[in-house]
C-alpha cells in the first residue's frame, strides 16, 4: 500500500479568490501542509494579496502580514527580529511572493535577506509574468512568450532570469525548485527547508491558466510536462552542492509543452527548435553543476 507523505491537515480553507485551475493556490496549500500551523506569512502585492480574500476574510489559518511590493525580504527579517526580541523561537517565518515581486522589484530586499543570513524561508511562486495585473512581462517570463507587454510581433526576446543562480551565489544553506504538479516532492522540500537554519529559498513553478492561455483542468498536466521536458528542472542547492531531484533521461520534446499554451501559439518551428536547443543546453549545464559539486560538503 502506498504511504501518504503529504500531511492531511489543511491550513488553507476553501473560498479563495484564485482563478479556476490556479497553480499558486496549490503552492500555498502544500507549503502550509509542509510547515504546519506555527508559521507566519508575509506577502507583498501579487495574486495572493487578492486571493486570500477581502477584509475581514482570509483563507489561510496562519498570521498573514501584507507588505510592500519590493520589500518581502525586509519584512521577513522584521518579523524574525520582532519574534526573537519577544522570545518567540518556534515560529517559522515565510515570505511568499510572486516572480515579479521577487526577481524584479523585490530583488534588492531578497538579496539583503539572503546576504544577512536571516533565519527564514522565502518562497517565490512563479507564474512567469505579472499575472495579478493581467499578464505583463516579468524577468521570469520565458523567451518567446506572449504577454500583454510583449505582444505578438514583439514577444519576449530575452531569456528567463535565473533566480536560482542569483540565490545560490549568496551561498545559502538551502535552495530548491519545485512544481505544484509534484506535490510529494514539493512538501518534502518544504519539510526539509523547515529543518534547516538560515535563509532558505524555494522556487515553485505555478502554472497560470489565464496567463499561459490553457484550459484550467490542464494545470497539473502542464506542470508535469514543464518538468519532464526539462524546461523546469527539479533540483536542490545545498551550500553549493547541486542535486537533481527528478532525473530525466532524454526528456519529452518541448514542443509538447509549448503546444498546450496559447502564449506560445505564435512560435514557428524554428523558434520551437531554438527553445529545445536552449533547454538542452541548460540541462547539460545543470548536470555538469551536479557532477562537479557532488563532493562539496554543504
Amino acid at each position: 500500500m502506498a504511504r501518504l507523505t503529504i500531511p492531511a491537515e489543511e491550513l488553507m480553507t476553501p473560498g479563495h479568490l484564485g482563478c479556476p485551475g490556479c497553480g499558486a493556490t496549490l503552492a500555498m496549500r502544500y507549503l502550509l501542509k509542509g510547515l504546519g500551523p506555527r508559521t507566519m506569512l508575509t506577502v507583498p502585492a501579487c495574486c495572493w494579496a487578492v486571493m486570500s480574500g477581502p477584509f475581514p476574510r482570509t483563507c489561510v489559518e496562519v498570521p498573514f502580514l501584507d507588505c510592500a511590493f519590493e520589500a518581502t525580504g525586509a519584512s521577513i527579517q522584521g518579523l524574525r527580529a520582532g519574534l526573537d526580541a519577544r522570545g518567540v523561537k518556534d515560529v517559522t517565518v515565510v515570505g511568499f511572493a510572486g516572480d515579479g515581486g521577487t526577481a524584479d522589484i523585490g530583488l534588492q530586499s531578497l538579496s539583503g535577506f539572503l546576504e544577512r543570513g536571516v533565519d527564514a524561508i522565502y518562497v517565490m511562486y512563479d507564474n512567469e509574468a505579472y499575472m495579478n495585473t493581467g499578464v505583463q512581462r516579468s524577468g521570469a517570463t520565458p523567451w518567446g512568450a506572449w504577454t500583454t507587454t510583449t505582444p505578438e510581433g514583439r514577444t519576449k526576446p530575452q531569456e528567463k532570469k535565473d533566480i536560482m543562480a542569483i540565490v545560490a551565489a549568496h551561498n545559502v544553506p538551502y535552495a530548491a525548485t519545485a512544481c505544484v504538479a509534484f506535490p510529494e516532492d514539493l512538501v518534502k522540500k518544504v519539510e526539509k527547508a523547515r529543518g534547516i537554519r538560515g535563509p532558505r529559498f524555494l522556487h515553485v513553478l505555478a502554472p497560470c491558466p489565464p496567463g499561459w492561455k490553457y484550459a484550467p483542468e490542464e494545470t497539473i498536466r502542464l506542470g508535469r510536462l514543464a518538468v519532464d521536458t526539462r524546461v523546469f528542472p527539479l533540483y536542490e542547492v545545498e551550500g553549493g552542492r547541486y542535486t537533481i531531484t527528478r532525473k530525466i533521461g532524454k526528456g519529452k520534446p518541448v514542443a509538447e509543452y509549448l503546444a498546450k499554451q496559447g502564449r506560445f501559439g505564435h512560435l514557428t518551428e524554428a523558434e520551437v527548435a531554438e527553445i529545445q536547443r536552449r533547454v538542452d543546453a541548460r540541462w547539460a549545464k545543470l548536470e555538469a553543476l551536479a557532477r562537479t559539486t557532488a563532493e562539496v560538503t554543504p
Binding site: 502580514l65 510592500a68 520582532g82 526580541a85
Partner: protein, 391 residues
C-alpha cells in the same frame, strides 16, 4: 546626569533608554552617527536589541513595520533622500497603525546635492499619517523621542511618529543634556503591549484588500487616531514635566505673544534665533513675539487660531519650499486663520534652504517686513541676486 551630547547622540541614547527591541537602519549623512551610536552601544552590551543593518531605508522601515506587527518596540532614523525613499512605507506604517518612532535629521533634498539643514524632506511627508515633532535643542531631541513613544503607543493613537533635528545645527553640535536614568524612563515609558500583535495562536491578516464598502472607514480610523494624538501629546508632556521637571511647551509654545503687534511662526533651531531677535526688538520698543511650531502633525489648529485671535500680524517662516503658493507652514497657518472678514494679516517667508544660515538679520528682516503695511504675501529672504551662473 548632565552629559555633553550631539543631537544624534541624544537620539541614540533615547532609543536605548526607551528599551527599543528592534532597530533597523541604513547610513545617510547626517543621520549616520545615530546608528553608529546605537551599534556601539549594542556591541558594548549596553543596549540589548535586534540591530538590523539593512540594505536601504525602504527595507529599514519595512523591517520596523513587520517587527512592530509582532509587538516589538522599533526605532529607525534617516534623512533627506532616505526619507523620500521611505515614502511608500510611511503610508504602510500609519495605515497598519504601527507605533514606530523615527529620528529624522532634516537635510535638503537633491538635486543639487546638499547635506545641510532644510525641512523639505519631512514637510513633504506631512500627508503620510505620521506625527511630526520639530526640535530646537539636543535636550528636546532626547525628551521628545521618549515622549513620542508614549504618544505613538497610546491606544487611541497607535500611529508612528518622527522626531526631527536640524542637520549639523543639532545633529553634530554638542550641548549639555540632562540624561534621565533608566529607572526614571522605565517609570515613564512601560514596555509596549501591542493590543493586536500578529500571533500564531490567534491567526489574523494585517493589511488585506478592502473593497469600497470598508476602505473609507479604515482611513477615517487613522484620521481619528491622528486627531486624538493632539490631546495625548499635551497630556504626555504634562506627565513628563511632573516626572522630569522640564517640558518643551506642547505643540505651539509661545514667546512674548500676548501684546504683540506681530508674531513669527517658526520651527526647528531657527526658533532660538527668533526669540533672541524678539528680545532685542522688544528692548527697542517693538512689540514682537515668537510661536514655535513644535508639532506640525497633528496640525495644532486650535492653538494657531487662539494665537491668531490675539495677534494682528503673523509671519510664517518656512525652511522648506512646496511648489504651489508659498511654503507649507504658511499655507496651513493661513488656511487655519483665514475668514472672509476677520483674522490677522498672514505673510509667508522662505528662508534657510539648503543650510543657508538663518541669522538675526534674517529674522529682523522678516519682522520689519511683516510690520510694514503692504509687503508681498510670500517672500524669499536672504536670496542673492544671480546675474550670471558660473561658466
Amino acid at each position: 546626569m548632565q552629559r555633553m551630547l550631539t543631537g544624534n547622540h541624544a537620539q541614540s541614547l533615547a532609543a536605548k533608554l526607551a528599551r527599543v527591541q528592534v532597530v533597523a537602519a541604513y547610513p545617510i549623512t547626517p543621520q549616520t552617527t545615530i546608528v553608529e551610536g546605537i551599534a556601539e552601544m549594542v556591541a558594548a552590551g549596553e543596549f540589548p536589541c535586534e540591530f538590523l543593518e539593512v540594505e536601504s531605508e525602504h527595507s529599514a522601515l519595512q523591517a520596523c513595520i513587520s517587527a512592530a506587527a509582532v509587538g516589538a518596540r522599533t526605532y529607525t532614523a534617516t534623512s533627506s533622500q532616505g526619507l523620500l525613499l521611505m515614502h511608500e512605507l510611511l503610508h504602510w506604517a500609519s495605515g497598519l497603525r504601527m507605533p514606530i518612532v523615527m529620528g529624522v535629521v532634516n537635510r535638503a533634498v537633491a538635486p543639487p546635492w546638499s547635506i545641510y539643514a532644510d525641512h523639505t524632506d519631512t514637510v513633504a511627508q506631512r500627508d503620510t499619517g505620521w506625527i511630526q515633532y520639530y526640535c530646537e535643542s539636543n535636550q528636546e531631541v532626547l525628551d521628545t523621542v521618549l515622549q513620542a513613544y508614549r504618544v505613538a503607543e497610546e491606544f487611541r493613537v497607535m500611529l508612528p511618529a518622527m522626531v526631527m533635528e536640524d542637520a549639523f545645527y543639532l545633529s553634530h553640535t554638542f550641548e549639555p543634556v540632562d540624561a534621565p536614568s533608566a529607572e526614571e524612563v522605565d517609570a515613564f515609558l512601560p514596555p509596549l503591549e501591542m493590543p493586536y500583535a500578529l500571533d500564531v495562536d490567534r491567526p489574523a491578516r494585517f493589511g488585506s484588500f478592502m473593497a469600497p464598502d470598508a476602505y473609507m472607514e479604515a482611513r477615517r480610523n487613522v484620521a481619528d487616531g491622528m486627531e486624538a494624538s493632539g490631546r495625548v501629546i499635551e497630556d504626555v508632556e504634562r506627565e513628563f514635566r511632573e516626572r522630569f521637571g522640564r517640558d518643551h511647551g506642547g505643540a505651539l509654545p509661545l514667546f512674548a505673544c500676548d501684546d504683540a503687534d506681530a508674531v513669527l511662526v517658526v520651527s526647528g533651531t531657527a526658533a532660538s534665533t527668533a526669540r533672541h531677535v524678539a528680545r532685542e526688538m522688544r528692548a527697542e520698543g517693538k512689540r514682537v513675539g515668537v510661536a514655535k511650531l513644535r508639532v506640525f502633525r497633528p496640525w495644532p489648529v486650535a492653538a494657531v487660531r487662539a494665537l491668531a485671535a490675539k495677534v494682528p500680524r503673523l509671519a510664517v517662516l518656512d525652511r522648506s519650499f512646496t511648489f504651489g503658493f508659498g511654503g507649507a507652514l504658511f499655507q496651513e497657518v493661513r488656511n487655519a486663520v483665514q475668514s472672509p472678514r476677520a483674522g490677522p494679516l498672514v505673510r509667508g517667508y522662505v528662508a534657510g534652504l539648503g543650510g543657508r544660515d538663518i541669522v538675526p538679520a534674517t529674522i529682523r528682516a522678516i519682522f520689519d517686513d511683516v510690520l510694514a503695511k503692504d509687503g508681498p504675501e510670500v517672500s524669499w529672504v536672504g536670496l542673492q541676486e544671480v546675474t550670471e551662473w558660473p561658466a
